[in-house]
Amino acid sequence: MNILLLLFAGFILGPAFLILALNFTRHNRVLRKRVELLITTFLISCACIAIFTTVGIVLSVLFESIRFFQAVPITDFLFGLEWSPQTAIRSDQVGSSGAFGAVPLFAGTFLITIIAMIIAVPLGLMSAIYLSEYATPMVRAFAKPLLEILAGIPTVVYGFFAALTVAPMIRRTADSLGFDVSSESALAAGVVMGIMILPFVSSLSDDVINSVPQAMRDGSYGLGATRSETIRKVILPAALPGIVGSFLLAVSRAIGETMIVVMAAGLAANLTANPFESVTTVTVQIVTLLVGDQEFDSPKTLAAFALGLVLFVITLILNVIALRVVRKYKEQYE
């Protein structure tokens, strides 16, 4: 605790002290060099904190996961079809092993992500195209900030909206059509999540489309193509790698999104592809397993870290690929 407070003071008061020291020693070359060395060390250590964070994430998630896999075989976890961790609260309990087959969670996450992408990709891409190719400066100045507001709304607000407004609306509509829809359907969470990542897709695609050189457009117009033909046949193919990169980033965000699914999707681990049924996701289970009083050594708590590891690895892979693709693409036209 005290060490921590010292660390705190170090990071907050340290810079102020160093800057003052630099001023006091400005007439003394030797002393100033020493202060400058200190400053450089401070700067480097700050830059390393980002590395430490990643290492910390990997280590903490990995260690707890390894402990989990000692209790539950990794193959059971990755390929098991049944998920019911709630039974494994106490070790002396009957049937205390619980079931930790995570396939229903992966399927649920996948289903909701697909629904979100079905909403976000066409809407986001078309908005980006409209904003960069068609919109008058006035429309652009008006519509772009509005879409950005959508990106700035906290996800807990979306979650509340999904659970309180969108889910009952879908249920009512389906009821009047004669369907039976769960009140925590994957559809409600997916649709709202799609709207949440719409501005994300649109602003990334907008960037990408804008970096396609004007000469390519002019060439196409010169051959007599209409604007939409130019967009579809010239700009989109040219921008495709970048657009795919932005989609991957959006997928990674949808997979890692927590609050919307915690509030609007269910807890029951159903293995289904039906969007009207209730499914659960990796993030929902991490939150449910960790909220409330818990023993840190029970497999139930450790399971959350194993899920976290899967989540981290998958999003990391998506991010690395996406960032590399986007970077390569931008270099191509620079």
Binding site: L123, I153, T165, T315, N319
Partner: protein, 423 residues
């Protein structure tokens, strides 16, 4: 006429139609986004605006000296049974009510926090005591919901939580002018409560304040220092390359993973207490760090090299050049980036859930080491409550959160206009 020209002419109408359709799809997509935004805001406001007023009922309370053991002193007031006093007064107001269930329904019209309000009132102004005094008391949440027109009196009695007899008493009070809606002060000054009419967001706001303060105190200096090193001093080699890729990836890691990090390292390895804003702030600072570093680097990169060359030319050391000349010029950009990070941290919920800031806490935190919750977490907690009155409060809390975000973003725009310069 050549054949190819005929061909073009023949298909031209179709192509133009397709062009128009394509354009329409684009406009429509934007419209969908904006309509959704409007829909979200309108439902939130229409659900929540009524939470800013609260129903009070006026009751003739028997505050004669007998209730205080014969003598009215601060001590006797503090010791008096105000719950009993209010119940007596309610019975006096409706003497015809008898039977346990009916009486309990009658007592239920007034919030069970009203006794404490009444005590406060008397301690502040003892002259109120001494006889039968009309006093405005906080009504129960069911009465409040009814007065706001969210309970349909025509519905079958079994489906309502407020029964016919209670509605009868309320109607009588309304006729006598004893029911009033006032500005909902408790909502802005109280901590959380199980009773909707007593629940407020002040505890959550203070929790958010401490969390964000810790977050910014850590993330801003570290982020700026890291950006300075990476942008101005770092040699171009593999290690700095790794750091850079690492920072970009860290910015895209799901926020809940940072919660897991906080749980495993800050809570379990360092043994810090659960549910405190200090830990929340530390976790959020790691989360906002990449945002701050990336925007600070952009701000540093925007300072023209001529500034650096001039400073170096008159004999400043590289460190002096950066700290005395480049940094002040890049500061507005860095501040803007940090405030964007702050807005992000303010709306963040998931990592705080994992490190235990979801506990039910009534007391308003007074330091970063007191157990507390944060505004978005409070929204999550209330959204889970079954009472109808909490829906209203959740929406109102969302309005307050969005108001803060609007204020922060307005501040960013202002800062950009005022301070940022183009070279």
């Amino acid at each position: 006429m050549s054949t190819s020209r005929q061909l073009v002419q023949k298909t031209l109408g179709k192509r133009y139609a397709r062009e128009r359709r394509f354009r329409w799809y684009g406009a429509l997509s934007i419209l969908v986004g904006i309509l959704f935004l409007g829909f979200l805001l309108v439902t939130t406001v229409s659900n929540g605006y009524k939470a800013f007023v609260q129903t009070y009922v006026q009751i003739d309370v028997d505050l004669s000296a007998a209730q205080f053991g014969g003598e009215i002193t601060p001590e006797s007031i503090a010791a008096a049974n105000f719950d009993g006093i209010i119940k007596d007064s309610l019975r006096n107001a409706f003497p015809e009510v008898s039977g346990r269930t009916d009486r309990r329904a009658l007592y239920g019209l007034v919030s069970n926090g009203a006794q404490y309000d009444l005590r406060e009132m008397l301690l502040e102004d003892p002259s109120l005591a001494g006889g039968v005094t009309p006093v405005w008391l906080l009504a129960d949440d069911e009465v409040d919901v009814f007065m706001k027109g969210r309970i349909d009196r025509n519905e079958p009695e079994a489906n309502r939580r407020l029964k016919d007899n209670a509605i009868g008493w309320i109607d009588q009070w309304v006729d006598e002018g004893r029911v009033e809606k006032r500005f909902n002060e408790p909502f802005f000054t109280n901590g959380d409560s199980r009773e909707p009419e007593q629940a407020g967001i002040f505890g959550a706001i203070m929790g958010s304040f401490f969390t964000i303060a810790v977050c910014m105190l850590l993330a801003f200096p570290i982020g700026v220092a890291a950006a300075i090193y990476l942008q101005e001093f770092a040699p171009k080699n593999r290690i700095t390359d790794i750091i850079e890729v690492n920072i970009n990836n860290l910015a895209a890691v799901p926020s809940i993973i940072f919660g897991l990090l906080g749980l495993a390292i800050f809570l379990n390895a360092f043994g810090l207490p659960r549910s405190v804003p200090l830990v929340g702030g530390m976790v959020l600072s790691l989360m906002t760090l990449p945002t701050i570093i990336i925007s600070s680097r952009a701000a540093l990169a925007a300072v023209p090299p001529s500034i650096r060359e001039a400073a170096l030319g008159v004999g400043a050391s590289p460190i002096q050049t950066v700290l005395h000349h480049v940094l002040p010029l890049a500061m507005p950009g860095m501040l803007t980036g940090s405030i964007i990070g702050l807005a992000q941290a303010l709306g963040e919920t998931a990592p705080l859930l994992v490190i235990g800031m979801v506990a039910f806490i009534v007391d308003v935190p007074t330091s970063p080491l007191d157990p507390g919750t944060a505004l978005p977490v409070q929204i999550y907690l209330w959204s889970d409550s079954p009472e109808r009155a909490f829906v209203e409060r959740t929406s109102a809390a969302i309005m307050v959160l969005l108001m803060f975000l609007v204020a922060i973003n307005g501040f960013i725009v202002l800062l950009r206009k005022k301070l940022e310069r183009r070279w």
